[in-house]
Amino acid sequence: MSKYVTIADDEEAEGYRSISAIMTEAGHKMNHSSARNYVLRAMKKFAYAIAKQEGVRLSDERAWEIAKNPTFQKTIGELFEQEVLRY
């Protein structure tokens, strides 16, 4: 399975290389793979939280699989945006 996952059809979304460049410029030195890992780890947290709510125990492998899923990422992205922009 590919390590890289692109969020489809989102012109505003940044690629991992530009994310790492912006973050490095802001004082958080990182390369593109670190940026990707940050995103995937956050996605994993969402996957675990949702599974817990449903009463399902996820294996680490399965959690990674879900975290990398583009549809899952897109859905979380939409919900994340709605929540973040509430403030």
């Binding site: 969020i7 912006i22 802001a26 940026a35 956050a42 969402f46 919900l79 994340f80 973040v84 403030y87």
Partner: protein, 263 residues
Amino acid sequence: MNELKTYFKDVGKYPVLKRPALMELFKELNETDSSAAKQRLKQKIMLSNLRLVVAEAKKWKRPHVALDDIIQEGNIGLMRAIEKFDYTRGFAFSTYARWWIQQAMRRYVSSTTRVVRLPAHILAAMSKAHTICNNTASMSQAGPSIEELGEKLGMSHNLARATMAATKGTVSLNSDIDYRSEGNVRDVLQDRLPSSVPTPDEFMLDGEMREIIRGVISKLSDKEEKILRLRFGITDDPKDHTKHPITYNELEELKKRSEQENK
């Protein structure tokens, strides 16, 4: 039906105790401390009054309510009457028990014959309102106003209005609107409801999901949250992270700072 016949046959086997014998049992029940003895006495009283329940149940027979269910509810009422009866007052037990049996049956019949269950006090108010409306209508052409009804029932105008609305009953979504035109109530409601209105299920799911998302976001570090914002394109200017909306943690810090300043 056979089961009911068997029940009637069984009930007939238990002798109906005369008033003095029954009073003796209640006296014994009142004086004994042993729970086993109390249980035995209650059972004896119960069995001797099962026929009373059957006789009352026949009065409450309704087309869509099973007689055995009414009897069962009546038996529960009888048990309550045994618990609460005070033999020292000198009244016959059957007079007292009949009230509890009827009350249990009335509640059961009222709650099962309606599609939407109504609280017992509203059912009682509806019955009173019906009597008031009938009496007023016989005296004058117009029925009582909501205000008059509220005053007579001893309830607020809003509750009186809701009680009157509840008397109108329910309409099936599949029922025809008009005998001349095609279509049913559901079609009309669907036309009138905006398509964007979520169903209750969707609403609940959405709410639960938001709670989860909110919980995870609150645990993300500033760095993680900023990266996610960039990834999902949540910013006015994606090239300038300083213009991003503030994070949860920053918001909490701001709140704390303002609280300290206010002190």
